[in-house]
């Protein structure tokens, strides 16, 4: 697996949002939403990205899909640089990279019927006749477990799970190789979530899909992902196979995350690693290790130096001085 060329690779990806202010609206400061992310995603795998809310997971996802202009760094898709392509050239790659959004309701136009929402993608990308498109849409609906009758429904006439299935259908419509799932199951309740997870797995096999799976639900990530990236304040904190992460978490942040997951087993209360305070705001980015302000094992030098990104064991990377 590692030998092959990565499907997607990011090198030193940065995304800053300007904070404007003052007379003439000059940029005063930046929100460092994504800091220096270098990552390889291989064909057929599912890469999980976890982290607290606001740590830049979605921004990362949007940036690699070209929905945001990046600040610095490069994105390679199948070995080609795509970060500075014009919209028209990007269109070709857009077919190959799709996204499933968190909120199944907000990600569908409330005034557009399901059928026409799916049809529209085909109109944009495929030169097909109406009949052919109808057939494709029908197949798509069936493939994600919906029925023909849903073709004419409005989003509000579907249940949450069904809506998310539409979102998935939209993502796979063009037969992409990479799908970014941004909190794709977070808004669903467990029983529906299980259905959608199953569907994602089936589709992965059927279409040889690669997923980047963004979530803050560590249970779901555990269940779905081959490798997991842990992010904190826009930076990479730890990366490894899911076994490495879940069984042998090295970074104190990963540890505290894992300890906070409520287990569905009554009476078994694990000792939590409690973090002090809230996430510092991305605009007043801490010096040194971004985690030092809340780290239970922080030392003086953590405030000064940014920790290196080290490979501790094969495929297991971590950024921490104390490991």
């Amino acid at each position: 697996m590692k030998a092959q060329q990565p499907l997607l690779e990011t090198r030193g990806l940065k995304k800053y949002y300007p904070i404007k202010g003052g007379f003439l609206k000059r940029t005063k400061n930046h929100v460092k939403a994504v800091q220096n992310i270098s990552l390889k995603v291989y064909k057929g795998e599912t890469l999980g990205i976890v982290g607290e809310s606001g740590c830049g997971k979605s921004t990362f996802g949007r940036t690699i899909l070209g929905l945001e202009d990046l600040t610095d760094g490069s994105i390679l898709f199948r070995g080609e640089h795509i970060e500075h392509l014009s919209d028209r050239k990007l269109k070709k790659y857009k077919r190959d990279m799709q996204m499933i959004f968190q909120n199944p309701f907000a990600s569908l136009n409330p005034r557009q019927r399901i059928g026409s929402a799916l049809d529209e993608i085909l109109v944009i990308h495929m030169k097909q006749s109406k009949a052919e498109r109808d057939q494709s849409v029908k197949n798509l609906l069936l493939e994600v477990g919906l029925k023909e009758e849903h073709y004419h429904r409005y989003p509000h006439e579907l249940s949450g799970g069904q809506r998310q299935r539409v979102g998935i259908a939209r993502a796979i419509a063009l037969n992409p190789s990479l799908i970014v799932c941004d909190e794709a199951v977070s808004a669903l309740d467990v029983s529906v979530q299980a259905q959608v997870i199953k569907l994602l797995k089936e589709l992965q096999v059927a279409h040889d899909l690669t997923y980047i799976f963004i979530s803050h639900d560590l249970g779901v990530v555990r269940h779905l992902c081959d490798r997991v990236l842990v992010m904190y304040l826009g930076s990479m904190v730890e990366l490894g196979t899911s076994d490495q992460i879940y069984n042998n978490a090295l970074h104190p942040y990963t540890g505290s995350l894992l300890s906070a997951i409520p287990r569905p087993v009554p009476g078994r209360k694990k000792e939590r690693i409690k973090l002090q305070g809230d996430l510092p705001s991305a605009s007043n980015y801490p010096s040194g290790c971004p985690f030092h302000t809340r780290c239970p094992i922080a030392q003086e030098h953590c405030k000064m130096r940014v920790p290196e990104w080290r490979e501790v064991e094969p495929g297991h990377f971590v950024a921490c001085h104390e490991v």
Binding site: G21, G22, F23, L24, K25
Partner: protein, 313 residues
């Protein structure tokens, strides 16, 4: 906040430049000649020529425009073609009246509009709601002159409560306030109707919001729920409407000023347009534009005051 004001002033200057140019050009393009109006139908061709030379209208337009701008830089907005009064004087004597009228009618409109809108939102679909909506709809479709004349007929001529016209007494006197009431109602009715509709829909949305439910869960009483918790949020969109409306009110005082014999900017402008008194037209348009922008700036500041999420720095 200071930087907001500074930026707006910069924008205002650019806007005024743009407007003055367009006004200048439109006066030039529009048919009608100030000299003919001044001289009247009797004038001979040479009379007209003399008047034109006298007013500087014989020069090329652009030269006229730049002369005008040059004058403005020295605080000289020119002289009325008709009366020879300086534009500044002409405007300053009338502006207080228009301002009084516009502010009074805005107050009338705001109070009536908001109260009516909120009551109909609380009693949604009740007869009060239907009545107030219907009145609001009629309010926007009553021509101003008609309403004004009716008010005069009923309240001035028949009941003799208010004087028919004029607006020259101090607003701090009873007679001054009496003079203001009918025109304010006339001018404010349409705005009141609009504000009522806006407040109603905005209020309806707010009272379904989560935080109102939270307040209820705290045991907050109905009255303070509406007038304390919901009002401030409901006002945010309404204030924009009030701001925009205030701008158009200033432009819309013409008919009210005519009907109530009020010596104001609206009448000055319309008379000036009718007599092609370009400097006065320019002056009044610039003034209205400046006020419009200022009012919108104030609206933005009020925004920031009632909605802490907005900050301008």
């Amino acid at each position: 906040m200071i930087s907001l004001v500074a930026r707006r002033i910069l924008q205002l200057i650019l806007l005024l430049l743009g407007i003055s140019f367009i006004v200048f050009m439109s006066m030039y393009i529009a048919p009608g000649d100030p000299a003919t109006v001044i001289a009247g139908p009797t004038a001979s061709a040479s009379d007209l020529e003399a008047i034109r030379t006298n007013l500087g209208l014989d020069k090329p337009v652009l030269e006229q425009y730049f002369n005008y701008l040059g004058g403005i830089l020295h605080g000289d907005f020119g002289y009325s073609y008709q009366t020879g009064q300086t534009v500044t004087d002409a405007i300053l004597t009338r502006f207080p009246n228009t301002l009084k009228l516009a502010i009074a009618s805005m107050i009338v409109a705001t109070i009536i509009g908001i109260v009516a809108g909120i009551i109909s939102a609380i009693k949604q679909n009740s007869w009060i709601d239907v009545t107030s909506t219907t009145i609001a709809l009629f309010g926007v479709s009553i021509p101003n002159f008609w309403l004004g004349a009716m008010l005069i007929l009923i309240f001035s001529v028949n009941l003799q409560w208010f004087p028919v016209g004029g607006l020259n007494e101090s607003i701090f006197s009873i007679s001054g306030i009496k003079q203001l009431i009918l025109p304010a109602i006339t001018l404010g009715t349409a705005s009141a109707a609009l504000i009522a509709r806006m407040s109603r829909s905005s209020m309806l949305e707010i009272i379904q919001s989560d935080y109102i439910r939270t307040a209820k869960a705290k045991g907050v009483k109905q009255k303070s729920l509406i007038w304390v918790h919901a009002l401030r949020n409901a006002m945010i969109p309404v204030i924009t409407v009030i701001g925009i409306n205030f701008g158009s009110l200033l432009g819309g005082t013409i008919i009210t000023e005519q009907v109530f014999a009020i010596n104001g900017i609206g009448r000055l402008m319309i008379d000036a347009i009718a007599s092609r008194d370009f400097p006065i037209v320019q002056g009044t348009v610039l003034l209205v534009a400046a006020i419009f922008v200022t009012v919108n700036l104030i609206v933005d500041i009020i925004y920031a005051l009632i909605d802490p999420r907005i900050s301008y720095d």
